[in-house]
């Protein structure tokens, strides 16, 4: 579904990503784990078209998207749930969601927007309860649900999520991840960027480890969980003390 080769990206003269090659197949949850500053957010923003790639190629469903605008990329079916939710605070929950469905009007599918809205409310009953409430008054977890719901309104084939667990209570995180899994089970494809490597690998099929702008490991999620480098660096296990007798 998504195939990236030798992607280089960054900010002005600061190169953050060096020759990144990754792929996401249809129906997969792929996670990219890595420490703060490794380039995870830059990668998602570059795919979404928010940052212009400096080199490399990105194919979404065999179509080159490297030079396309963010709107065009959303139109093609690739949506981003941004880091820190970024919901429109002064607008209601319902308005936020309708806005997410804007692209459906371009696709001449505006008659489907109501059904999509119902689907989102089915997925997140909490949002239905707070339909008329201003987004800025929601709790962190609810805002995250809203951000995901807003992205889903565009009917994406690939949904990219940037740190959906950030700043949320563990129980809420569990909910959010259960939702991600459910989305996949219902046929969505997910590219998930997370600092919470354990939770991400727990639901993912495959993962990449990003370190200072380079991919250093590609493996199925289960194998990454048992990789000792990954355990030490990202899963917070201090193996040196564990192995002491």
């Amino acid at each position: 579904m998504l195939r990236i080769r030798n992607l280089e990206s960054g900010y002005d003269r600061l190169k953050v990503l060096r020759h990144i090659s990754i792929h996401v197949s249809s129906g997969e949850i792929v996670t990219i784990i890595g420490a703060n500053g490794a380039g995870k957010t830059t990668l998602l923003k570059t795919i979404a078209g928010l940052i212009r790639a400096q080199a490399g190629e990105m194919l979404f469903e065999k179509q080159e998207i490297t030079r396309l605008s963010p709107e065009r990329i959303v139109f093609l079916g690739c949506s981003l749930v941004p880091e820190g939710r970024q919901v429109f605070a002064p607008m209601t929950v319902r308005e936020n969601l309708i806005l997410g469905g804007y692209v459906q009007y371009q696709r001449n599918k505006k008659n489907e927007v109501d059904a999509d809205l119902d689907r989102i409310f089915g997925l997140f009953p909490r949002l239905k309860e707070r339909e008329a409430q201003l987004a800025g008054t929601l709790s962190g977890g609810e805002q995250q649900m809203l951000a995901i719901g807003r992205a889903l309104m565009a009917r994406p084939k690939l949904i990219m999520m940037d740190e959906p667990s950030m700043g949320l209570a563990p129980l809420i995180v569990k909910d959010i991840f259960a939702t991600v899994r459910r989305l996949r089970d219902e046929g969505s494809t997910v590219l998930l960027v997370e600092q919470n490597a354990k939770a991400a690998l727990g639901i993912a099929d495959r993962g990449y480890v990003l370190e200072t702008g380079r991919i250093i490991l590609e493996e199925n999620a289960e194998d990454l969980l048992s990789n000792r480098d990954v355990q030490r660096a990202y899963l917070g296990r201090d193996l040196d003390t564990e192995t002491k007798i």
């Binding site: 080769r5 060096r18 792929h23 380079r214 250093i216 490991l217 590609e218 000792r228 480098d229």
Partner: protein, 432 residues
Amino acid sequence: MFWEPERECMDREELKQLQLEQLQATLSRVYMNVPFYRRKFDEMRVDPDEFRSLDDLRKLPFTTKNDLRDNYPYGLFAVPLREVVRIHASSGTTGMSTVVGYSKNDIKNWSNLVARVLTAGGVTKDDVVQIAFGYSLFTGGFGLHYGAERIGASVIPISSGNTARQIKIMQDFRTTALVCTPSYALLIADTIQEMGIDINALSLKYGLFGAEPWSEKMRQEIQDKLRIIATDNYGLSEVMGPGVAGECLQRNGLHINEDHFLVEIINPDTLEPVAPGEIGELVITTLTKEAFPVIRFRTRDLTRLMAEPCPCGRKTAKMLRVMGRTDDMLIIRGVNVFPSQIENVLMSVEGTEPHYQIVVDRKSALDEVTVMVEVSESIFFDEMKKQAQLIETIKKRLSSELSISVNVKLVEKKTIERAEGKAKRVIDNRKL
């Protein structure tokens, strides 16, 4: 039957993407973690960050068996020793042994790859697999063992040697699949015959043979004598062990597990890639190994890649059975001669047995080759004239194949020493 169909039958384009991703990750890791590779890359001014396509592989330095020896024992490990769960050493066919390590994930991948090879060779969870490879530092025994267990087969870890006991176990435990070297399989077959055991009373169905080069004629012989389907498989400890490649039931070339190994064929003299389909030295880069990745390892094994799609459905590239080793290559009066060429000629001649030895001497500065070959009893006790005819035929064919003349000596059956491991085919008496 496939073990991992989504990988073995993967679309070529997808496979290329996966290989590129894995190769870039591997290069970043070895550059970071293995001083040897970092130094070598720096010397050759190779920046792993500048690696853009699989073709860039050609810019990377080769790794040789000598590099492994120079870094004995742990110098090329890419992870700290505490993450290594297994250590093997090369079987030392050629010189001092070299040491390789495996992480937990490496062992898991290894088991899966061997499971692929076994499945391709006909083995299922219902089989009783007798593993007559040595269980030791040599990767053969443990490699096949873990793979067979992974499939869920019943594994008999009998190890190599004690042929009479092998046969007794084979009878009593109703072994259905035999795993060993092809020359040992022949020895077992001959011993079964000698002991007067009815081959039809055995339960054997499949044989998976590897660890040494063998020929099509030898396969026929083993298949006929043991009444089994015999497949060839390939691997080497420096790269992983068995599981690098294996034949499917088509028995026409070995499927390479390309999602874990990137292969090239080079000319061993010029080190340049050969034209597609040409014979040359196999060079392997590992794509997923954690503890002991190797970059462009020169295997010294001679083969060629086969482009034709396989009717079995696997889309992985196939390699021809290994024809010999570049360091088996004998230089006789300036001509390159591979023992496998001699074997092929012998196998094509009626009346010879698949046991032979090549003796090289130097008499007054001239190399002399004598090929000793066992012949069937009927010929050996036959009149001199027939023997002389046979010698003439073999000589003629050999000299046209090798473009040098060689001596041929017929010997009685069982004269040439039988090996329980790898057969010793060449005796070089020259003091060079």
